[in-house]
């Protein structure tokens, strides 16, 4: 089943294929995620969807269709003969829309629904609806939970009221939340699982409290909205309040939770980082990918990477999960051939993808989602792909032998043993000086570093090692003869070091704005 895709520009009614060719590059530059489709046109056969991009108005709008063997001679043919949907670039890049692209059947269904409901096709500007797939009920649950959080509709007023309650410090609701946050921040508990379990329990408890007990006008507010409902609608209070709880509980505790996770999993993160370094050179075959299975191209990886990045940036665990599902969808979409893909294919390819995207924080993010999402969600599709992410991490970590008990906390250990490995361009480990601004002391940290690793790779590993939650404010510096030189993220620290060999030369990872007078000894401690 091969679908054709074309890129168009210009007025919807008039343009033909001729103009498409000339403007294609422009389009691709404008939206680099379209690279995924560029490759398809090059015959790399990832075109399992039809994608037509049409510029109908001065604003950019995408039109997607599922028409097969579309010749693209006239756009009228496209508009009148196929079922299609228009989406804006923002809508197009949304995870839930990306998920459409993984299954042509839902895309077809979507186009059909849209076409049926819009007689005036040429004017249709439709918000992408969620995939409506019979076999993914729990995905529906993800969406249901999400749907309640939209800023429109009946849920919005209730959401706003609950947020208002959380703001009003005289309510039991707000006081409980403030207490909980204060207690959690005060707590000496170091285990992130315990922290997340408490958070989950608290959020569920507060939801119950509002629904069963209510506060102030909450019940009236619900009643008011209830009366506005159409006979076919209902209020998913659970979903609405879940979003509220993420906002008022997860967001304030986010930094603490990440610090706890990073500290608790420091060894795992380090091991995964080392494994990713190793896996970067592994062939798909070595990771267990069957010879007959394709792996995503670099263009597809770029798209997946974006979803992974969004996953890391998102505050709410639900947003994280959505972005994970979107990333996996894009991946599936790219590797799907004639054959159906089972778990035998998914897992190795996911491991390979995680390695290529250098998702060092994969385990932390997975832990966070598993710890904070409502349990009902984890029984379904979301849980399955979250488990797949955990598995991929486990597969990758096995590339690096488990560190023995004696190396349990090498980050904090003295700098006596592995220091020698620091010199030379091919070193597997470089040592970096890490000033702790809170304690006023200096740590020496060995960082696994493959030959040719960039400063940005090292920074990423160091941010995890040092539990730094604002890595954008930090950079790697070369210290030599009393000077500090900031390394650009694309510099290769090992090359810089080999150039300077013979001099007193040290790498330091510090806040860019920090002003530090280095001790002579720190600089002399190793050449």
């Amino acid at each position: 089943m091969m679908w054709f895709k074309k890129l168009f520009r210009g007025k919807c009614e008039k343009r033909t294929e001729d103009t498409a060719g000339s403007s294609k590059d422009e389009w691709i530059n404008k939206f680099d995620y379209l690279n995924i489709f560029k490759e398809a046109e090059d015959g790399c056969s990832i075109a399992t969807e039809a994608l037509e991009v049409v510029q109908t108005e001065p604003r950019e709008i995408y039109a997607l269709t599922t028409i097969r063997n579309f010749r693209g001679d006239t756009l009228d043919e496209f508009v009148c003969e196929s079922e299609w949907v228009l989406v804006t670039p923002d809508q197009f890049s949304e995870p839930r829309f990306q998920r459409h692209l993984t299954r042509t059947d839902t895309l077809t269904a979507l186009c059909k629904t849209v076409a049926d409901s819009n007689l005036n096709k040429k004017r249709a500007e439709i918000i992408a609806k969620s995939p409506n797939c019979h076999c993914h009920e729990t995905a529906g649950r993800v969406r249901a939970l999400r749907g309640g959080r939209s800023t429109r509709g009946a849920g919005a007023a209730i959401r706003a009221y609950a947020l208002h309650l959380a703001q009003d410090k005289s309510t039991t609701f707000a006081q409980n939340i403030d207490n909980f946050i204060a207690c959690t921040l005060d707590s000496k508990e170091t285990c992130p699982q315990v922290m997340m379990r408490n958070m989950r329990q608290f959020m569920s408890g507060m939801k119950n409290y509002l629904v069963k007990h209510g506060e102030r006008e909450f019940e009236k507010e619900v009643e008011k909205e209830r009366l506005k409902l159409k006979p076919t609608e209902f209020l998913n209070l659970d979903a609405i309040l879940e979003g509220v709880m993420h906002r008022v509980v997860v967001v304030p505790l986010r930094a603490r939770l990440y610090a706890r996770l990073a500290a608790w999993h420091a060894r795992d993160v380090r091991r995964l980082h080392a494994a990713l370094e190793r896996a970067a050179h592994a062939t798909p075959l070595q990771l267990g990918v069957k010879e007959t299975t394709k792996v995503p191209s670099s263009a597809v990886l770029a798209v997946i990477s974006k979803h992974f990045l969004k996953m890391q940036e998102a505050d709410s665990p639900l947003d994280k999960l959505e972005n994970l599902l979107a990333a996996i969808s894009v991946m599936f979409n790219a590797i799907r051939g004639e054959r159906s893909l089972g778990a035998d294919d998914l897992l190795p390819v996911l491991a390979w993808t995680v390695a290529r995207c250098r998702l060092v924080c994969a385990e932390l993010e997975a832990e966070l989602m598993a710890g904070l999402l409502p349990p009902a969600l984890l029984a379904g599709e979301g849980g399955y792909y979250l488990t797949a992410l955990f598995s991929a991490v486990a597969v990758l970590k096995r590339l690096v032998p488990e560190p023995g008990a004696d190396t349990a906390t090498p980050w904090r250990r003295g700098s006596s043993d592995s220091g020698r490995a620091g010199a030379g361009a091919g070193a597997a480990v470089v040592r970096v000086v890490l000033p702790d601004e809170c304690r006023g002391n200096i740590r020496h940290v060995p960082v696994p570093c493959r030959p040719g690793a960039r400063a940005r790779d090292l920074c990423r590993a160091l941010a995890h090692a040092a539990h730094i939650t604002n890595p954008q404010d930090y950079a790697l510096f070369a210290l030599h003869d009393g000077h500090e030189t900031m390394l650009n993220e694309n510099d290769c620290p090992q090359e810089v070091m080999s150039e300077k060999s013979g001099q007193n030369f040290t790498l330091a990872y510090r806040r860019i704005d920090a002003k530090i007078a280095w001790p002579q000894q720190a600089l002399l401690s190793y050449p």
């Binding site: 059947d105 207490n179 569920s204 409290y209 007990h213 159906s340 893909l341 778990a343 897992l347 597969v395």
Partner: protein, 209 residues
């Protein structure tokens, strides 16, 4: 084993077995027959939901496929955790794959005890003439460990529907047997809940004051 508000029972089923024994095909065959109007190639055959109606009860099966290659064996626990049923698939023409099933049975019994319903499926009966796993051996082994044994052919669509139907029936029975003890356990948890300090004071879901 959660019960959705609409009264639907959710059961989690995990598919285990060596690579190439046909787990994925089995799953696809089962789902395909219900949705044969759809293009199967578009389905992601790693996780699928299937709705059933048994004895007037609505049931949703969440079926989890697992990677069968030996190197992924250690991942088993995170997949079969909280499973209500497991389908252990082997290839009747491949003795090693049957050995692998035995390993899974041992592991599942050890980790989950009798909480999980086990089904052993000898797949690829369309290749009967190449059979290397003796019929009697497989069946007596299944008997011994308290698992039901099925012969299936994903290719010819034999035994697949029956397998899933029986599995679901058994899981439902087990669930109904356990539900009484579940209720007791739940009420105990609530008592404990009330005693925990500060942050959990508002967390006992059914607090009535």
């Amino acid at each position: 084993m959660t019960t959705a508000p609409g009264g639907t029972n959710n059961f989690k089923v995990v598919l285990l077995g060596e690579g190439c024994v046909g787990k994925t095909s089995l799953l696809l065959r089962y789902i395909e027959d219900k949705f044969n109007d759809k293009h199967l190639t578009t389905l992601q055959a790693t996780f699928l939901n299937k709705r059933l109606n048994i004895k007037g009860k609505r049931i949703n099966l969440s079926i989890w496929d697992t990677a069968g290659q030996e190197k992924f064996h250690a991942l088993g626990p995170i997949y079969y955790r909280n499973s209500n049923g497991a389908i252990l698939v082997y290839d009747i023409t491949d003795e090693d794959s049957f050995g692998k099933v035995k390993n899974w049975v041992k592991e599942l019994k050890k980790m989950l005890g009798s909480d999980i319903v086990l089904i052993i499926a000898g797949n690829k009966v369309d290749l009967e003439h190449e059979r290397t796993v003796p019929l009697e051996e497989a069946e007596s082994y299944a008997n011994m460990v308290g698992a039901k044994h099925y012969y299936t052919s994903a290719k010819l669509n034999q035994g697949v529907e029956e397998l899933f139907l029986d599995l679901t029936r058994e899981m439902l029975e087990k669930y109904e047997q356990n539900s009484q003890t579940e209720v007791n356990r739940t009420s105990q948890v609530l008592v404990v809940d009330d005693e925990t300090p500060v942050q959990s004071s508002c967390c006992s879901g059914t607090k009535s004051n």
